[in-house]
């Protein structure tokens, strides 16, 4: 059985973390990155996952509109968390985040799918960072078409420009989790080749975790 990875889980407490860990064991997910309000809480939740046999690291998402300001916070966060993911608010932040060795992944929300272009892909390839696409936007209720389109465009562009991309759930409870085979099915339905789709929930995701632990 192939072993999978989820680049983002954000359980709200120990009970949800235990439920998620049990579910991830069933799904074949063996590596996760846990996001929480502060580093101590994230480490505590990561311990819960490890107790169930799911390897866990801590992660944080840094919002960056001005890279000059963000870089000061990034230095502090990189010491406190294992994996730092940047959610850029401008093209400049997206480009510079992709080049920074402390950044493991650049998160692209559906509205920013157009930033996944040729030069962004080249920067990501050079540095070894990955693009993170969140699937929680599809479960928010209401019309999922906009979110679906954003994820589809970003995934297809990343695959076309040969950039590494990881699809994460950012599940707060087990009801927001995405089985890896479902993610692969969704990506292949979007037009992503099956081997690349499988890498997005295994190899590319692990690449981001390893980069975060090294950085």
């Amino acid at each position: 059985m192939r072993l999978y990875c989820d680049l983002c889980v954000a359980p709200r407490g120990r009970a949800e973390a235990e439920e998620l860990a049990r579910l991830y064991r069933l799904m074949g997910v063996r590596w996760v990155a846990v996001e929480a309000g502060d580093p101590a809480a994230a480490r505590g939740l990561a311990e819960v996952f490890r107790a169930y046999g799911v390897e866990a690291v801590t992660r944080v998402t840094l919002e960056a509109s001005e890279w000059g300001d963000a870089v000061k916070r990034l230095k502090r966060l990189a010491e406190e968390y294992d994996v730092v993911v940047v959610r850029p608010r401008s093209a400049e932040a997206a480009r510079l985040a992709a080049r920074d060795p402390r950044v493991a992944a650049v998160q692209l929300p559906p509205g920013m799918a157009r930033y996944m272009d040729k030069s962004q892909a080249a920067l990501l390839r050079e540095s070894g960072a990955v693009v993170e696409l969140r699937l929680r936007v599809l479960l928010g209720g209401g019309d999922p078409r906009l979110g679906l389109r954003g994820v589809m465009v970003a995934a297809r562009r990343a695959a076309a420009y040969e950039a590494a991309f990881a699809v994460s759930s950012c599940a707060r409870s087990r009801w927001e989790a995405w089985p890896p085979m479902t993610v692969v099915g969704l990506l292949v339905s979007f037009g992503v080749p099956p081997p690349v789709a499988r890498l997005s929930v295994s190899g590319y995701c692990l690449q981001a975790l390893r980069r975060g632990l090294r950085g």
Partner: protein, 191 residues
């Protein structure tokens, strides 16, 4: 004018005349060759046009043959036995109670229709072929070309019969026997 001067003028005019005569003769030769060449081109023209017509015919025949080959391949695809895929999945519900198989199948079909439309439902020919309520696991049959769409649709099911539920695809196989083996059923139940 002296006799010498007269002789020199006569010699010069004689030389000029000689040169003009030779030039005239060379021009005649070139003219003859040109006319021969023209005659040759005139002779070749109908042959070339007939060759072009022949090539056009060959090209048309080839494209017709290719078209019929493509049509034959498409028909062969239609004639070929429809390949099926069996997707093994587990059900997780809020209260731990297994949902009814009819509700489960309805939820899967609704999710597939929401994702891929009615055409996907028709092409996929999705059916819940096996359901083990104690193990909370089942097997869904789909056509091989809609396998990924059905996998995606399974993951999009978040409610079954009004209760929160999650369907987790575990394995895809080509035969129901292998699918049952993947579920870990005893040998006698695999038939």
């Amino acid at each position: 004018m002296t006799a010498w001067q007269l002789a020199a003028a006569a010699a010069a005019s004689g030389l000029a005349l000689l040169l003009a005569w030779r030039l005239y003769k060379r021009l005649r030769v070139v003219e003859e060759r040109l006319s021969r060449l023209e005659a040759g081109v005139e002779r070749l023209e109908p042959e070339l046009s007939s060759l072009a017509a022949g090539l056009g015919f060959v090209r048309a025949a080839l494209s017709k043959a290719l078209e019929s080959l493509e049509a034959e391949e498409a028909l062969e695809r239609l004639r070929r036995r429809r390949r099926r895929r069996y997707i093994v999945f587990r059900v997780v519900t809020e209260d731990g109670q297994p949902p009814a198989p009819e509700e489960l199948e309805k939820a899967i079909l609704r999710s597939l229709e929401r994702l891929g439309g009615q055409l996907a439902v028709a092409l996929g020919r999705v059916q819940l072929v096996y359901y083990h309520s104690e193990r909370m696991a089942g097997i869904v049959r789909a056509s091989h070309d809609t396998k990924y769409l059905v996998l995606a649709a399974l993951g999009l099911v978040r409610r079954v019969g009004g209760r929160r539920a999650l369907l987790i695809p575990l394995k895809t196989t080509g035969t129901i026997r292998r699918a049952k083996r993947a579920l870990g059923l005893p040998q006698r139940e695999q038939r």
